[in-house]
Symmetry: C2
Subunit: 346 residues, 2 copies
């Protein structure tokens, strides 16, 4: 492929192509955008010139001039790109967008509302066509004004308080209910719940599902068996240790998040009761199957959530103006042993 020299090492522009093809630069623009009908002869000549120069349209200039300001770019703002759940989610979003030639700008909010807002504004400044957001737990009604209202936003993992938008979440409540029912079915009546801060949507939904299962089986709610507000594996390990060494310990534990599950595993093994006290975790963990016993989990599908979010956003970009919808992605129980330990005879 020859690359005939431009005046300098400049990137070729529409005008360079036009000069070479001996047409007006508007004709080149028409060919590039597949606009209206350009005569076959000119089209061929223009195509050849484009090829010869290695011309590529400049999206920056195009975005600036365009009436609709489209940039073929969307933003993804997730809580923590380093955590496996967000990583898988992000990968699925990027993959879904790529298939349509849409690039993805990324940022981490670190669950800080100020970071989140700043990232959001920076992306709007850059004229992204849409946004996938894992919203912090704070009020988002400000998004209604402030020029974000007219861009398309899809919430993932949880809804944004105070702002109605398309939302894709896992079936947190249903999954948690099934997880606890699984334990009940194995004879457990004292089932502890270790979970995150109830202000967090996912944490409170999972707690609600757990309680529903208990209620449905006619079991009383015992506040002593709920350890809430836990943030990491360390805190979870301590909480589970305390529960197990208390006056009337549970025979089973439901851990409401992957890090908390890891903490529970550590506590159980430290006390040497990993084959006596049952455990089910929400969200899958790598190597869970290699432990002894294997860890039974209610798995979410971050890939499915990301895929769905990308699809929903693309549909909006294509002009879908129907009312905001919420998609609930199912969870699935993966039995590996820890959740099938039977309750002791009484």
């Amino acid at each position: 492929v020859s690359k005939p020299s431009l005046p300098s090492g400049r990137r070729p522009t529409l005008r360079d192509v036009a000069r070479l093809a001996d047409v007006s630069f508007k004709t080149v623009s028409r060919v590039v955008n597949g606009e209206a009908a350009v005569s076959p002869q000119l089209t061929t000549r223009v195509r050849a010139a484009i090829e010869q120069l290695g011309y590529r349209p400049d999206p920056t200039a195009s975005t600036l001039r365009r009436a609709d300001g489209r940039s073929q770019t969307v933003a993804a703002i997730l809580e923590d790109l380093a955590n496996p759940f967000s990583g898988a989610l992000h990968g699925a979003i990027v993959a879904g967008m790529r298939r349509r030639g849409v690039l993805v700008l990324s940022a981490s909010s670190e669950e800080d509302p100020d970071d989140e807002r700043e990232a959001l504004l920076a992306f709007i400044d850059r004229r992204v066509d849409g946004i996938v957001l894992m919203p912090t737990s704070t009020d988002h009604s400000w998004m209604g004004s402030d020029r974000i209202g007219d861009r398309h936003v899809v919430m993932v993992d949880r809804p944004a308080p105070g702002f109605a938008a398309d939302t894709v979440v896992a079936d947190n409540r249903g999954g948690a209910r099934e997880a606890t029912r699984h334990l009940i079915r194995h004879g457990h009546r004292r089932i502890a719940f270790v979970g995150g801060p109830p202000e967090m949507y996912t944490a409170s939904e999972r707690l609600a599902g757990h309680r529903e299962a208990l209620g449905g089986a006619g079991l009383a709610l015992d506040p002593e068996l709920e350890a809430l507000g836990l943030l990491d594996s360390q805190q979870s390990r301590q909480a589970v240790s305390r529960l197990l060494t208390g006056a009337s310990p549970p025979s089973a534990i439901f851990a409401g998040q992957n890090l908390l599950t890891i903490g529970a595993v550590r506590a159980l093994r430290q006390l040497g009761v990993q084959r006596e006290v049952a455990l089910v975790g929400f969200d899958d963990i790598e190597l869970a199957g290699e432990l002894d016993p294997g860890i039974t989990v209610m798995a979410q599908s971050p890939v499915e959530i990301g895929r769905t979010a990308a699809e929903l956003l693309l549909r909006r970009l294509d002009g879908d103006t129907s009312a905001p919808q919420t998609q609930i992605v199912p969870t699935g129980l993966v039995t590996r042993g820890s959740g099938e330990l039977l309750a002791p005879e009484r």
Copy 2:
């Protein structure tokens, strides 16, 4: 904060601010860019108008006009955003850039040279200031021409064949050497190596380190003990099974990648020899400490690699024109039991 109406719901521009402050729009531009000296009075008036309108500069227009074409944006093209190593790396890059107000555009190459090239060109079109690339194993000399040569590129995880650029890699060879020496120190003389395709830089470096350690201890290289070209945990499990059930099985295994380590763990447990055959893996795995025995690994630091890459790229953007450099990020042995199993008496 009041938001006095513009003619329509338009985003305010420099001119809107200028009109309100009763100055020329160039003066506003000067204030915004902190350019030259504008009299304190005007500065105050302009600042007030900016505040009142909620004006934010338009980076798209600014990038288009700017002589240097700076966009305050960089690209990250990694192999697989869903894998934990890439995820952590990506998170660290985004975090490092964010601190300087630089946004990160992301793409996955899926180790496909065409995808990689396409992503690269798309980002160049968007005028990114720099690129962090995890290059595929193919020849990259084409990058020298084709308008990529003048953007700053930092390679991560491995160098790009045929293209000299700043590079940040883990100490693959040294780490592997130490891992195998660790096994030798525990009395092992027949140490198997399971690794990826030798065309891959990391795989071949780790193999080289392993061999160096054997050579340094006066042990012969036995091709029967090297299983190369493995791509996932499944293939690794099979390879390790075969090794252990062969004529003269190894007493220890060094697995050259995290997925391969997981496969090795499965094979060892299936055969019930996890307490007899030693294992060290390259790259850490979650829950490795909860297994019995815990899995000893030579850990890399994706976060450190990402942080370093971001730093290097920012320095280039700041005008550093020194020769391309390679930074080697150290690895660290994490002993957990599997690597400390002693060789059987002979």
